[in-house]
């Protein structure tokens, strides 16, 4: 009878030990199943510069031209020099390309008059000065409009000007009338 009473106690102890072992196994299993991880969000940033633009502010005006008499306009004549205004990111490097006409033509195209540009017919002013006749400290003078310097930069105020002169060569029988031609200036950032 004593042994009969003992048996349930031993059975309970063995059961408790088994339960504890099972509990330990479960805890270890749960702990091994969770893997640590983390995440974060960084960023990439950029500041796009002021848009680059160029406008034809004033035409190159030869004015009255006589048949057979060449006429030149310098790049530093207030009312007559061609003026192109450039705006963009201050101090940014730019490349300028001028596509110069070979002749001017009537509106009907029934006559043409040759036009020429010398290697000193342009000036570049990297200040806010828009007067070709006013030399500024940042001006590049006597430059070739067909090969504007590659080191051109926009002024500190974000603006610059290109001043242009030229020469027309009317023939002795040049047809009377108005003659025009396109001067195309392309400007682009160079990333400097």
């Amino acid at each position: 009878m004593y042994e009969e009473k003992r048996m349930p106690q031993f059975s309970r102890m063995r059961k408790s030990g088994v339960f504890a072992a099972i509990a330990v196994v479960l805890v270890l299993s749960i702990g091994g199943g969770v893997s640590a991880q983390d995440a974060t969000t960084g960023s990439a940033t950029a500041t796009v510069t002021t848009i680059l633009s160029i406008t034809a502010t004033q035409a190159l005006i030869f004015g009255t031209v006589y048949q057979g008499v060449p006429k030149s306009i310098a790049e530093n004549v207030t009312a007559s020099s061609g003026i192109f205004t450039i705006t963009g990111q201050a101090l940014a490097g730019i490349s300028l390309y001028a596509q110069m006409p070979e002749y001017m033509a009537t509106s009907t195209g029934d006559d043409r008059m040759p036009v020429a540009f010398s290697t000193t017919d342009a000036a570049y002013d990297s200040t806010a000065n828009a007067n070709p006749a006013t030399a500024s400290g940042g001006m590049l003078t006597n430059i070739n409009p067909n090969a504007i310097p590659a080191t051109t930069v926009i002024g500190g105020g974000g603006g610059s000007h290109l001043f242009l002169g030229g020469r027309v060569l009317p023939s002795p029988n040049q047809k009377a009338g108005a003659y025009t031609a396109d001067i195309i200036i392309t400007v682009s950032y160079i990333g400097t």
């Binding site: 030990g17 893997s35 640590a36 991880q37 960023s43 990439a44 940033t45």
Partner: protein, 194 residues
């Protein structure tokens, strides 16, 4: 008298005899019980585990392209002061898996313009030392790695830290709208158990 004494002695002897027998029996039982108790034992063992240092990743420095000109692509190498830097801390020498979710474009705050971003197969470096300067990566790391496919053998350094250095490229259009652009770079890190 004799019979009385005899009777008395007989009863007394029987009592003593019974007591002796009981004692012997009880003693035998005790001996028997002691033998059964010694047939089992109890021991207390232990289960132990050491949880690793918590794994964490933080964005230490943005990938800064800075001033970008319309139409002019701009690249930032992974070893400059402008490189993106992510810092990882955790258990020393533990194996980790790294995943980077890179942006396809940067956008303005209003979302009215987007600028493509690109990342080459060598735009990443994983440095398993304490060095946090992209320009001076420590030895023993993983240089020139693909940020979209970081090495699976990455481990934290002996000091429990590592860094990811990131470069990239933006491709603005000629008429890209002026202004500030941003893009999110999401880095996920997890222990591999190795």
């Amino acid at each position: 008298m004799k019979s009385v004494l005899d009777n008395a002695n007989g009863k007394g002897f029987k009592s003593v005899h019974r007591a002796l027998i009981m004692t012997i029996a009880i003693g035998a039982m005790i001996v028997a019980n002691n033998s059964q108790v010694s047939a089992q034992d109890v021991a207390v063992g232990q289960a132990t585990a050491t949880v690793q240092t918590i794994l964490a990743v933080s964005a230490t420095a943005s990938l800064v392209f800075g001033t970008v000109y319309q139409g002019i692509p701009k690249s930032i190498a992974k070893n400059t002061a402008s490189s993106g830097v992510f810092t990882i801390t955790g258990q020393a020498s533990a194996g980790i898996s790294l995943f980077m979710q890179l942006p396809e474009y940067l956008a303005t705050s209003t979302g009215d313009d987007r600028m493509p971003a690109a990342f080459s197969t060598t735009d990443g470096t994983v440095d398993s030392t304490a060095n946090v300067n992209p320009a001076t990566p420590g030895g023993g790391g993983w240089p020139n790695v693909n940020p979209r496919n970081l090495p699976s053998t990455t481990v934290l350094g002996g000091g429990g830290g590592a860094h990811i250095f990131l470069g990239g490229k933006v491709l603005p259009s000629p008429n890209q709208k002026a202004g500030a652009y941003t893009g999110d770079i999401i880095v996920t890190v997890a222990y591999t158990g190795s």
